[in-house]
Subunit: 216 residues, 2 copies
Amino acid sequence: MERPEELAREMPSASIERLPTYLRALGDLAARGVVGTSSTELADLAGVRPAQLRKDLSYLGSLGTRGVGYDVVRLRDQVGAALGDAQELRVAIVGVGNLGHALANYSGLVARGFTVAALLDASAAVVGQTVAGLVVEDVAGLHGIVQARGVSIVVIAVPGDRAQEVCDAVVAAGVREILSFAPCALQVPPGVELRSVDVGSELQILAFHSRVRQER
Amino acid sequence: MERPEELAREMPSASIERLPTYLRALGDLAARGVVGTSSTELADLAGVRPAQLRKDLSYLGSLGTRGVGYDVVRLRDQVGAALGDAQELRVAIVGVGNLGHALANYSGLVARGFTVAALLDASAAVVGQTVAGLVVEDVAGLHGIVQARGVSIVVIAVPGDRAQEVCDAVVAAGVREILSFAPCALQVPPGVELRSVDVGSELQILAFHSRVRQER
DNA sequence: CGATGTGAAAATTTTCACAGCT
DNA sequence: AGCTGTGAAAATTTTCACATCG
């Protein structure tokens, strides 16, 4: 409470991962002109329990008013600040295939305050093309581009058999935050934050539940 | 051990979520012609600790040989079976925008044994077009298509403001496994398994770590 | 009074360390 | 001898329940 930054540093990762959901719910409430809310309402919108929402928010400080609830706009701004809202972080996308294409055109990135600063690919067939208003550049120039444009997050959208080498190059370029869509486990040194999204795995997890269901 | 199905039913969700990673690592080993492996090697490939891998696999039964290790092909088939490998589950994709397009063309789905059985959209501009060898159909026909083609998993790739209504229709059509790419929390009745992937949230989580890093 | 913020309890997940097989 | 399989311990996460304060 005395030092919010210290507390935020100790926020459990499980809580951190729910913040974006809360931020979105708060944005929706604000857009609807709702002024005040409660942990019950907000938790409902986010699909969690009220106590969990309160505990999660408590790591960011004392953001509500006892006996009253939360001010929607104020809370939105505070959660947004925790998520680096006003930072205008620059993102580079490596791999401009089907998925890279879709990501480059995804309005959600800009809507959440990110700037797509570069599109990179290894294939001569793609380099030079204009996608989402950006000219695709050669991945060989990764290091220089990251440095020159202040890229802080890189999205890896290349085939699995290229992902580790691209990942290594990204780390070597000094990037500390990586989001990978490659369907394989990537090795990163300590201090680098890697998150992975794999559509195939998600479907397989659903398939597991489907199979268990059938067995009964 | 006496009743593997019962055990599988009790597998912790945290363990279930790691099975696809193990399966992929095993597939890679098999492709390289490796015959036997150990929990240490496999855990390394999957990015987890050996004890965790052994505990995870133990929920499926006693799959290795003490003092020796695991047979790669055998273990791959057993983990694959747990994930419904041979089931040839049918998937329908609702929303054929940028993302839906990319998903329809994603070779990883077929590679992991899924069949894309239908592409659906609400927009007249898209319905009737051929994407990835399939004609896009009107989402109004969802219920009939799901029933007629035995669709067991639906992927929701529509804009956030349409996601809940589509989700409700999908549930009403009898689907029990849903993967959503919508950037919002969806409400589903108990018994329906919903998984959510939100690229914006993933980036915001990375942004949180980036901000904490800068503060130090 | 009423909803937040939070210690404490419960549940889940991870890690340890070694018994048990081959 | 060596690696798996697994109870037990440790760590993390969730939930409870209530003191707290506007």
